[in-house]
């Protein structure tokens, strides 16, 4: 009994150690947020009082700034309410369900991320195995990332549309465009990470390049792959959202952001933003969890996960 209680206590302590700092920052942010909500929205509220000849005091003003329909900055509870209404209380199939829009964005994020990972790994392998590939490809790979994605995204969409591709694929390709880069960089580093003596060791076995690749370079690169996949999946989401902006914004979190800004629906914009960051956090965490399990299964020590 006592050992169980000790173990439970330890577990709680561990959780508290991890969560308390996060909650502290969250609390501070919320306080600052409320302060700015009141500060930014009060001018408009006072203006409204004056026009309608309503007498007001400070506490009425504070309350009213937090319940405007189109505030400059919505209060956190307004956003939470909106998210609740558009997720739990709406049917998933509804055009106003945030879950529906998230799933649209999520699907092109995942497709783009997977394409980007495959592309990145293929490029990294060809760079590591072939010097000529490195000097010819690497400058272009780096140059590709210096172009602002906002500038090139509409081009990709337009070109692909005229080729008959629309919907998910063009958006996914923008995610691919962003996400292959960290994969290339991470995998090149990972494939080259084995110590020189490990490569020499393989040579003393008279092993082929194929053996060196599959038995040494590839397994050694796995931790690097997961680290870059964490970066890649987060920017895949950004890519998918950016890709939704110029398509005329039919569906997806990007569309919610765009329609929200058309109609000054700040609460809608903020709830889409919050949803996007929840999504990003979930995706990054999932990759991290898979990476942890894989490293553990491979026998790497925990600290490398």
């Amino acid at each position: 009994m006592t050992t169980m209680r000790i173990r439970a206590n330890k577990f709680l302590k561990k959780i508290a150690e991890k969560i308390l700092p996060i909650l502290t920052i969250l609390f501070l942010l919320t306080v600052v947020w409320y302060f700015f909500t009141i500060y930014l929205n009060s001018a408009m509220q006072i203006d409204k009082y004056d026009r309608q000849g309503i007498s007001w005091n400070i506490s009425k003003l504070v309350l009213d700034t937090m319940s405007q329909e189109r505030p400059k900055l919505p209060a956190p509870h307004q956003i939470a309410e909106e998210i609740w209404k558009t997720t739990v209380e709406k049917k998933i199939t509804s055009k106003r369900s945030l879950i529906y829009h998230s799933s649209i964005t999520l699907s092109s994020t995942i497709v783009g991320f997977m394409l980007g990972t495959v592309l990145g790994v293929v490029l990294a392998v060809s760079i590591v195995e072939n010097r000529a590939m490195e000097s010819s490809l690497m400058p272009w790979i780096i140059a590709s990332q210096t172009i602002p994605i906002l500038a090139i995204a509409p081009m990709i969409i337009v070109v692909l549309n005229s080729l008959g591709f629309s919907g998910l694929l063009p958006k996914a390709l923008i995610s691919t465009y962003l996400s292959f880069f960290p994969i290339v960089v991470g995998m090149v580093k990972g494939l080259r990470s084995p110590d020189i003596i490990l490569v020499d060791l393989m040579k003393t076995y008279n092993s082929s390049k194929v053996d060196i690749f599959f038995k040494l370079r590839l397994p050694a690169s796995v931790p690097f792959l997961f680290t870059s996949m964490k970066v890649a999946i987060a920017i895949s989401l950004v890519g998918a959202i950016v890709g939704e902006l110029p398509t005329g914004a039919v569906a997806g979190l990007g569309a919610r952001l765009l329609t929200g800004s058309y109609y000054g629906q700040t609460i809608q914009i903020w709830s889409a933003l919050i949803m996007a960051s929840i999504l990003a956090a979930t995706l990054v965490f999932s990759i991290q969890a898979i990476g942890y399990l894989v490293s553990k299964k491979m026998g790497y020590t925990n600290e490398e996960a």
Binding site: D195, I197, L198, D200, L201, M202, K203, T204, Y205, N206, S207, D211, K215, L216, P219, A220, V222, M298, G299, Y300, T301
Partner: protein
């Protein structure tokens, strides 16, 4: 087949060009017979590791001839004539001990039954049975190095090349491993080339000690050991042991000018 496992004649090896040129090996002539235990000793930069790498075909001599098992080092490598043990254990962190030992066997396409038989035999030789499923990070430095020796033994090459295998270990562990290595050498009858920095280690283990000197890397003395192949740590207090150690030390001193860099 010849009973000369290694025979080197006037081997010379240079790295770099022009003013950057370093003569790593100069005029190395040496023969190592079957079943010998040869130590290479000398200060850093004397080419002892380079010579071992040349035998293993990891470096190519600039001039001179070297034969391993009567054929060129490249051919000897193709025949899988030697096992190589590096200074650090170099175990793959994602493979457990038995998988690490089986690595060369997998590359050499041994059958599954043969692999598991040879892995357990090799682990037996280095007294690591029972640790098959452990991962390298769960083992001490000495055990890791033993696992790497087991890996070099697993495909039963006649020649074992060891590059300061115990250099990073503390003296107590090192003494223990030296005894184990002697034991293993007698049991298997392998030829061993052993690079070391330590005079007692070299004198204790070897049937032949090659004293080398840097700039350019060359052999200054070759000492035959009078000790029987079966020996214990006690011989280190004997007169012969001390006199051989002295001769090694003199050889090292004669070939090395400690003020060279200051000039």
């Amino acid at each position: 087949m010849t009973d000369k496992i290694i025979s080197a004649k006037n081997v010379e090896l240079k790295f770099g060009r022009g003013s950057e040129e370093v003569v790593a090996l100069k005029n190395i002539s040496l023969e190592v017979g079957a079943g010998e235990f040869v130590s290479f000793i000398g200060p850093s930069g004397c080419g002892k590791t380079t010579f071992l790498r040349t035998v293993a075909a990891l470096e190519k001599p600039t001039s001179g001839h070297i034969l391993v098992n009567g054929v060129s080092p490249d051919e000897a490598r193709t025949n899988r004539a030697y096992g190589y043990v590096f200074q650090s254990a170099g175990l793959y962190p994602w493979r457990n001990i038995s998988k690490n030992v089986s690595l060369p066997l997998e590359i050499m396409n041994y059958s599954r039954e043969e692999i598991s038989k040879r892995v357990s035999e090799s682990l037996n030789l280095v007294e690591l049975n029972g640790f098959e499923k452990k991962f390298p990070w769960q083992l001490s430095g000495g055990m890791q190095q033993r696992a790497s020796i087991a890996r070099a033994l697993s495909f039963d090459a006649d020649l074992l090349l060891m590059d300061e295998p115990f250099g990073a270990l503390d003296e107590i562990v090192r003494d223990h491993l030296n005894e184990q290595l002697l034991d293993l050498w007698q049991k298997t009858g392998k030829t061993i080339c052993f690079v070391t920095h330590s005079i007692p280690e070299a004198v204790f283990l070897s049937t032949k000690i090659v004293v080398m000197s840097p700039r350019p890397g060359r052999i200054v003395d070759v000492i035959k050991s009078p000790f029987p192949s079966s020996r214990s740590l006690e011989i280190r207090d004997s007169k012969e042991f001390i006199s051989i150690s002295q001769r090694v030390r003199e050889g090292l001193r004669s070939g090395y000018d400690y003020n060279e860099n200051k000039g």
